[in-house]
């Protein structure tokens, strides 16, 4: 408990110094404030954005895109991953294609998505799905392959067959890989989301960011960037981290404290 308090204290102090430095540099008048605004302006932009609900709406819209796109990716990625892990033919043909597609930055799907779906939500979802499905698939596949054989042997030996073997043994045994895959998939989806939103006409955070640029509203741009980082951290660094730690603790993969 004491360590946690200490850590939080340090972090608060760090950000205080960072903001202090920022304010100090603004005071030096090296750049005009419309290029390098003071922290107070960014704070005002944040506050106003929440007060007139535009940020709430943007967050809501972006999260809806995320949940939909990520949801589709997880289902698709899981099915593909299991298919690839259990069929050698699929692995050698589809598997190779997927690995090469994985090297494509998700923003490169955008022109195709816009031509197919127009500047719509569907284009955004498409980009998210293309960006994150493959990382889910690949982790699932590695999970099934690298899982120690002894678990499935022991499971079969104890009378688990077919779906029971899958549900009670193979699935939990590959959980460390699955969680890594889900986490990675989320990170890719999160990056793809903004690639999609910045070009399409929706009310999401990406569009707010773009609007900030169009209006040369630097405080707004920085405020939205802070929001994006904060939400990303909350999901990745807090939610997924907690799930991961819980599993690692159970499995004894962490030095127990």
């Amino acid at each position: 408990m004491k360590n946690v308090a200490k850590r939080i204290g340090r972090q608060v102090a760090f950000y205080a110094v960072l903001i202090g430095l920022w304010a100090l540099i603004v005071r030096l008048h090296i750049w005009p404030t419309y290029i390098f605004p003071p922290p107070a302006d960014v704070y005002t932009a944040l506050r106003d954005g929440f007060e007139d609900h535009s940020f709430w709406i943007a967050i809501g819209v972006s999260m809806r895109h995320m949940l939909l796109g990520y949801g589709i990716s997880v289902v698709l990625g899981t099915v593909l991953g299991i298919g690839l892990a259990s069929n050698r033919f699929l692995e050698q043909t589809v598997g190779g294609l997927l690995v090469s597609l994985q090297s494509m930055p998700s923003i490169c799907w955008l022109p195709l998505a816009v031509l197919w779906f127009g500047l719509s939500e569907n284009a955004i979802l498409f980009v998210i799905v293309m960006g994150s499905t493959l990382s889910v698939t690949i982790s699932m596949e590695t999970g099934r392959k690298q899982m120690p054989k002894i678990y499935s042997m022991a499971g079969r030996n104890l009378g688990a067959r077919k779906w029971k073997l899958f549900y009670y043994v193979l699935l939990p045994a590959s959980m460390p890989y699955i969680i890594t895959g889900l986490k990675q998939g989320w990170a890719f989806a999160w990056r793809s989301l903004f690639a999609g939103e910045m070009l399409s006409a929706t009310l999401g955070l990406g569009q707010r960011l773009n609007a900030g640029r169009d209006n040369s509203d630097m405080p707004m741009v920085i405020a939205v960037m802070i929001l994006i980082v904060a939400i990303g951290y909350l999901v990745d660094g807090v939610l997924f981290r907690a799930v991961e730690r819980r599993m690692q603790h159970k499995w004894g993969l962490l030095a127990s404290t």
């Binding site: 002894i150 678990y151 042997m153 022991a154 499971g155 079969r156 030996n157 104890l158 009378g159 688990a160 067959r161 029971k164 009670y168 043994v169 939990p172 045994a173 959980m175 599993m247 159970k250 499995w251 004894g252 127990s256």
Partner: protein, 294 residues
């Protein structure tokens, strides 16, 4: 053999009478629990070369018998257990259990692995009840049995623990409880104590002997440790190095409970070891050759 009269029985002449001997009782033997008939296994190595791992193994194990199999590493003795368990398929020959051919895994034959194979995502009690859960035994009944078997291996206090919280010896005890909880007729133990320190192993020898006496299970126990085999077994089968064949069988008539330090155990072990040494040398030589070719 005659140097220690009475300690080592006659070499069983089962090689000659195996044909047809599995299905019916012979004059002096009850029908065997397990009968291996001309069991062979060939497999392809990663380099594409075909290897004969087991060559026409003929063995019978009586109900309630404790059979130990010793042999150098690479003699296929673990593979034999996988065949009995139904986890691998033989290339030819068959495994008969109660005169019925084994075609797949079954909870009447449970393995205990060297690396224990316990599930790290489950607690001790969930591990122990796993086999019953797969069989569809209702929860209340499962819990009752779990208690019973954890008591048998002296681990009641640890039912809620996760596997990584236990010591190596405790893990093997959980594995034994998990195996017994499915009420198998035959326990197949694959060098279960090889990774444990000497003290823990002594303790587990005592426990296994006691559990065996209390539950009356048939045990096939694979080890490379001859003393361990003599300490535990009613009979010890020595395997040859690749391809694995039954080289000789020894009946161990020493009184129980035995101790690893008993001079009679040591004497018998020394005799079997002499027999085995030739095979161990072969395995070492092969290992050396393989290393040189690399």
């Amino acid at each position: 053999m005659s140097a220690v009269p009475g300690l080592v029985g006659d070499v069983l002449q089962q090689q000659q009478d195996h044909a047809g001997g599995c299905a019916r009782a012979t004059l002096d033997l009850a029908p065997p629990k397990l009968c291996l008939q001309d069991l062979s296994l060939k497999y392809k190595t990663s380099s594409g070369e075909k290897l004969l791992a087991l060559d026409k193994i003929n063995l019978r194990v009586a109900a309630g018998e404790f059979l130990c199999i010793v042999g150098p590493s690479g003699c296929g003795k673990s593979t034999l257990l996988y065949l009995i368990a139904g986890l691998h398929e033989p290339s030819s020959g068959s495994v008969l259990m109660d005169s019925k051919k084994v075609v797949r895994t079954g909870t009447d034959r449970i393995m205990i692995f060297q690396e224990h194979g316990l599930f790290p995502w489950l607690t001790v009690e969930e591990n122990v009840e796993f086999g019953m859960k797969m069989k569809g035994v209702p929860k209340a009944e499962r819990r009752e049995h779990v208690h019973e078997y954890l008591k048998l291996v002296h681990l009641q206090k640890f039912q809620k623990s996760y596997i990584h919280q236990l010591s190596g010896g405790m893990r093997q005890r959980v594995a034994i409880a998990r195996a017994l909880a499915t009420e198998p007729d035959v326990l197949l133990m694959d060098e279960p104590f090889a990774a444990l320190d000497a003290q823990t192993r002594d303790l587990l020898h005592d426990e296994l002997e006691r559990i065996w006496a209390e539950t009356g299970r048939t045990i096939v126990f694979v080890t490379h440790n001859v003393r361990e085999a003599v300490r535990l077994g009613d009979r010890v089968a020595v395997f040859t190095f690749r391809p694995g064949r039954v080289k000789r069988e020894y009946k161990i008539d020493l009184p129980r409970p035995r101790q690893l330090e008993d001079t009679a155990v040591a004497g018998t072990a020394r005799e079997i070891l002499t027999d085995l040494r030739e095979e161990i040398n072969k395995s070492l030589e092969e290992e050396y050759q393989a290393e040189r070719q690399r």
